[in-house]
Amino acid sequence: MTTSANLLSENAPPVLVIPEKPHEPKKSEEPGKPDSAPQLVLGLLFGVVFGFLLQKGGVARYEVLMGQFLLTDFTVIKIMLTAIIVGMLGIFGLRALGLVKLHLKPTRYAANIAGGLLFGVGLGVLGYCPGTGIVALGQGNFDAIAGILGLIVGSYVYAETSGLLASTLMKIGYRGDIMLPDVLGMRLVVFLAAFVPLLVLGLYLVAKLAP
């Protein structure tokens, strides 16, 4: 198992060597503890910024998301790739300084694949994603209301089946909080040094081929 955090600090100057666990137990803040009032306000403010940006990016327009899947409009991929690259550098930079910890999602191959495919079908049928659906409503696309109601109902239907799923599909291919460099047996810094330029190249090609 690659201890990515320790490897990161090996290459850092001595002052920055932080004794960090490779995969922080992320459950620490979850169980039962309610978010403080200042955190709720922060959540609201971050939401305002996020919603504002998604609206300005145009990705909450039905035509833009469907255009992405019809491969005629690449705005969605441009925004996502740029956000991933900037965020990746930022989060791993902050983590190397000991300022943030990761919040990885557990890998369950069967559920990730089945759910991912189902989600993709839903995207094509609705034309909004959960985030842009809210933004679509905010910019006056009232059909998003039906989508939002569907999202709420679908979530509850899932909860109804969650007990059954936990003992079946969720167990297939369960790997815990693994990261791409773990799968490839690479050190985190080495992986990032190769992967980030690759993502930048991908973004450059998208920008060239679909301006």
Partner: protein, 169 residues
């Protein structure tokens, strides 16, 4: 430079979302994610009708149906979108998207029905996959989470043929 799809350049918007991610990690110790908020809302509604049943469901034992950071984020997103659309003169009071109308006609009920079904599928898929375009597609992907890259690729693998079935057949 003119960007047909959005008021702002996608690279600027993407950069700012990346910076916003850093801010939520640093100030709130949380990644940007949206779909769980719908599940919490669904649980809150469920509790109104069947409190005991809802609280006993496996999912709601792990994910409490209550107001929290992620739900506030979604409320904020609605406000942010309204502000952006109104100040940018992009508020469109429409029940049927223009592209949909060209293909399927102006029937509002048809569009709303299909959107509802799409929403149900979307939510079920998001919960099964463990996240949506934000939680997996941006936050999980930027942390190099294997589950997120698998899910993100699957989103596109299924969405592309679905969109083609609807518009290219």
């Amino acid at each position: 430079m003119q960007h047909a799809s959005g008021a702002w350049s996608p690279y600027l918007v993407g950069t700012l979302i990346g910076l916003l991610s850093m801010a939520t990690f640093y100030f709130s110790n949380k990644p940007l994610s949206v779909s769980t908020a719908y599940a919490r809302l669904a649980g809150m509604v469920g509790k109104l009708f069947a409190k005991g049943h809802t609280e006993n469901l496996k999912f709601y034992q792990d994910t409490k149906p209550k107001m929290e950071w992620g739900v506030m984020l979604v409320v904020g997103m609605l406000l942010g979108a309204i502000i952006a659309a109104v100040t940018g003169g992009e508020f469109t009071a429409a029940w049927v998207p223009a592209m949909w109308e060209q293909r399927f006609g102006p029937d509002v009920a048809l569009r709303l029905g299909v959107a509802f079904v799409g929403g149900v599928i979307l939510a079920y898929g998001a919960r099964l996959a463990g996240g949506c375009t934000s939680g997996h597609g941006i936050s999980g992907a930027l942390q190099l989470s294997v589950s997120s890259w698998v899910a993100l690729v699957c989103f596109f693998i299924a969405a592309v043929p679905t969109a083609h079935l609807m518009y290219r057949l």
